[in-house]
């Protein structure tokens, strides 16, 4: 182990990287044809996306703001998928998280920032986790399909939040369906001048590292991977599969709740009706593109953030509808899936080396 070069891990990583890049390439080629059909120049469109998304620091900052909720929610989704539970419910969990974080954020508690901000964030996370607990409980205890349940809960959650900003959470004497502004003591600090970039992105990076360590280095992560791959074998060897699933779902919901909280506390600063449509569903494609790996998710989220921000520039400059990114994203998901079974085979290259080393050892003894 120590002397032998561990190429298997590199092989997997490279396979993922290459197939992800290929998927993106296929998506761009197909969308080029759509653009050509409309008489638009695809190269110009893509370069506008690039400029608008990553052209300068301000653009990149805007892309990171876009990426932030996607990253946080996708980290949670990937975690649940790894445990073998399909959390399609990030959308509702994000809304609930945002609502409760806002609620704490606008309360005049007179607390210092060092308490008020974490309190608002944690309340948002708890709200997301609670919303995720419902389908997890129903699956584990009663055997209900979590996909249907989380989707239904998404609609209920979103309408609930919308109803709230129309009633008891609405700004006093306000006309618009929105809450009051979050107090300064509960906002996430900005990271850059002349940009909306806020500390939420740091939460995403820290979260990714924590989840990676949990998954790969701890006993809980090992158990979670076992349960996700073979729940029956895990149960037989003494693991508590049900508890593991619930725990994974709670973590997943907490991250979605965090996504909602950071969007409000860091960027929007008040809660609007439909404040972040489809983020929960987009995050699923981010999780898949990132191959359910926390580090992969970070990269994928930034990629989608750039794509989304850049697409706005493209729409303004060329009149190409921004919704084309849905098509790009969908094709990426489908291609990533289609390439799932493909694997780079480095063994011919490395195994020869290993054999030489072995025979040398054999000769010596």
């Amino acid at each position: 182990m120590n002397t032998q070069f561990d190429y298997k891990r590199i092989e997997t990583g490279l396979s993922y990287l290459i197939s992800s890049l290929l998927s993106i390439a296929v998506a761009l080629i197909i969308s080029s044809f759509i653009l050509l059909g409309q008489g638009k120049d695809p190269l110009q469109a893509f370069s506008l996306i690039f400029q608008g998304g990553i052209g300068d620091m301000a653009a990149f900052g805007a892309s990171l703001v876009r990426a932030c909720p996607l990253m946080l929610a996708a980290l949670g989704i990937a975690f649940a998928f790894k445990a073998g539970i399909y959390n399609i419910g990030a959308e509702g969990q994000i809304y609930l998280g945002a609502m409760f974080a806002t609620w704490v954020g606008i309360l005049p508690l007179g607390l210092p920032k060092i308490i008020h901000l974490p309190l608002a964030i944690l309340t948002g996370m708890a709200a997301g986790a609670s919303w995720a607990f419902i389908p997890a409980y129903l699956k584990v205890k009663k055997g209900f399909n979590e996909v249907i349940m989380t989707i239904l809960l998404n609609y209920i959650g979103v309408y609930f939040v919308n109803a709230s900003v129309h009633s008891y959470l609405q700004e006093p004497n306000g006309y618009y369906p929105q809450t009051s502004k979050v107090l300064e003591t509960a906002t996430l600090p900005k990271l850059m001048a002349n940009s909306e970039l806020h500390a939420g992105i740091l939460l995403g990076l820290i979260g990714a590292v924590i989840l990676y360590v949990i998954l790969q280095k701890t006993d809980f992560g090992y158990q979670l991977r076992c349960v996700g791959s073979n729940p029956e074998a895990s149960r037989t060897s003494g693991m508590n599969a049900k508890l593991t699933l619930i725990a994974a779902m709670l973590v997943s919901g907490a991250f979605a709740g965090l996504a909602g909280a950071s969007e409000v506390l860091g960027y929007q600063h008040l809660l609007l009706e439909n404040f972040s449509p489809n983020t929960g569903y987009d995050a699923i494609s981010v999780a898949l593109l990132g191959r359910l790996n926390p580090i992969g998710v970070v990269i994928a989220a930034i990629f989608i953030g750039v794509l989304r921000t850049g697409a706005n520039t493209m729409q303004i400059m060329m009149g190409v509808p921004v919704t084309i990114v849905y098509i790009i994203q969908a094709i990426i998901i489908l291609c990533v899936l289609a390439f799932t079974n493909w694997k780079l085979d480095l063994s011919r290259f490395f195994e020869r080396g290993a054999k030489d080393a072995n025979s040398k050892l054999a000769n010596r003894s």
């Binding site: 158990q223 073979n230 074998a233 149960r235 037989t236 060897s237 003494g238 195994e351």
Partner: protein
Amino acid sequence: MSEIILEMKGVRKEFPGLVANDNVNLQVKKGEIHVLLGENGAGKSTLMNILYGLYAADGGEVIFKGNVIHDNTPKKAIGMGVGMVHQHFMLIPALTVVENMILGMQEGPNPVINKKEAANKILELGKKFGLKVDPYAKVWQLSVGEQQRVEILKALFRGAELLILDEPTAVLTPQETQELFTLLRGLTKQGLTIIFITHKLNEVMEISDRITILQRGKVVGTVNTKDTNKQDLARMMVGRDVVLSVDKAPANPGAKVLEVKDLEVKNDKNLVAVNKLSFEIRAGEIFGIAGVDGNGQSELVEALTGLRVVESGEVIYNNENVTNKPPRYLIEKGMAHIPEDRHLRGLVLNMSVKENMVLEDFYREPFTVNHFMKFDKIDAYSKELIKEYDIRLSSDDIPVGNLSGGNQQKVVLARMLQRNPNLLIVMHPTRGLDVGAIEFIHKRIIRARDNGSAVLLISTELEEVLTLSDRIGVIYEGQLMGIVNQKDANTNELGLMMAGSHKAS
């Protein structure tokens, strides 16, 4: 009589990393019962799946009734008059017998099913061949023996002239086996030809006219049954002399380790599967439970290992009542379990061999300290087990699913035995393995006994239970029909008990 109905010439079939059939030649005469004999993995089923059109051969030709068959498919094979009863029945449990029979049998353009007509035809055929079935019963309600009759009838319904039976006796009691043999002889009198796949030598001598022996994908030879004997066949099958028994010192039973009292357990359909069952096992002995599949064995094991709820009764383990304790509690007390289905329960197939070695103990020192896993310790442990249990692999970083069946089972065995269990529960430990692996696993189970483990062995292979166990119980419909000592046991008595008669006391 000597007309040749089927000829397979130079058939070759490769799977990734394995040549399943290598230049196989086979001639079957009309009206005979022809046995294909070989170990597990010798390529018998593969050859027949090629004949039936399920697999495409990589080379060679198949000649049936004088016609060379190209691009074979099951549809074509059925159309020519080939019928096959697979080892795992190809019946749909949720549908009725009629529906299973007429599936894919649309004649002409009329898409509407005439169930009544079909049912009458089934009854008529049944009368002709002496096969009684209820056409309107749902298949899941039938016993295994009845399901097998439905399978045979299904082939006859489709006009089979050549009937292939893949390990048909694996699921039958000795008495049911006799009934099947009578049926098969009747069928040949009506002009049918039968190919019978098995690895059981006793059956071969009894039922066949001629035998073709396969070994590692190659034909060793074809012989007339009357010109051969069991020893010769065994040698041809394995390629060396086989010790048909295992060396085993007399048991030296110690303290009582497990006591089961009036245990009652329900199955997934909420029916009673284990019915007021009682027995005990002592340290240093092997208690075997024989019986036909599906008589409550799985539910019994699941209840003992904490995987299934006990409705009533008690499980006393090391003088402690452990009824309905969770698996981890029992594992920590020293219980080990080699599950019946290693893919479902024993291994996490897409994780590495190394990671699979610590499925039970991953959370304990030295493998985990303060919730962080120590991969160097796991690696060393895994290397040690791989050496100790002679597990053949290129690297312990590869997914355990890439190993052969025998090596996979050794991974499970290694993990369990390395824990020095005081109780070892073993179910179908050698199912689907080759002779080498079977011998190895048998020896290790006996060694565990000699080291003082109490062993509960559950198997449907009567031979296996007879050779390994010190005491033998027979389970039928969730009840123990009786317990006998190994030295007093005989196949006939056990067979009767497997069919539901109590031990004559």
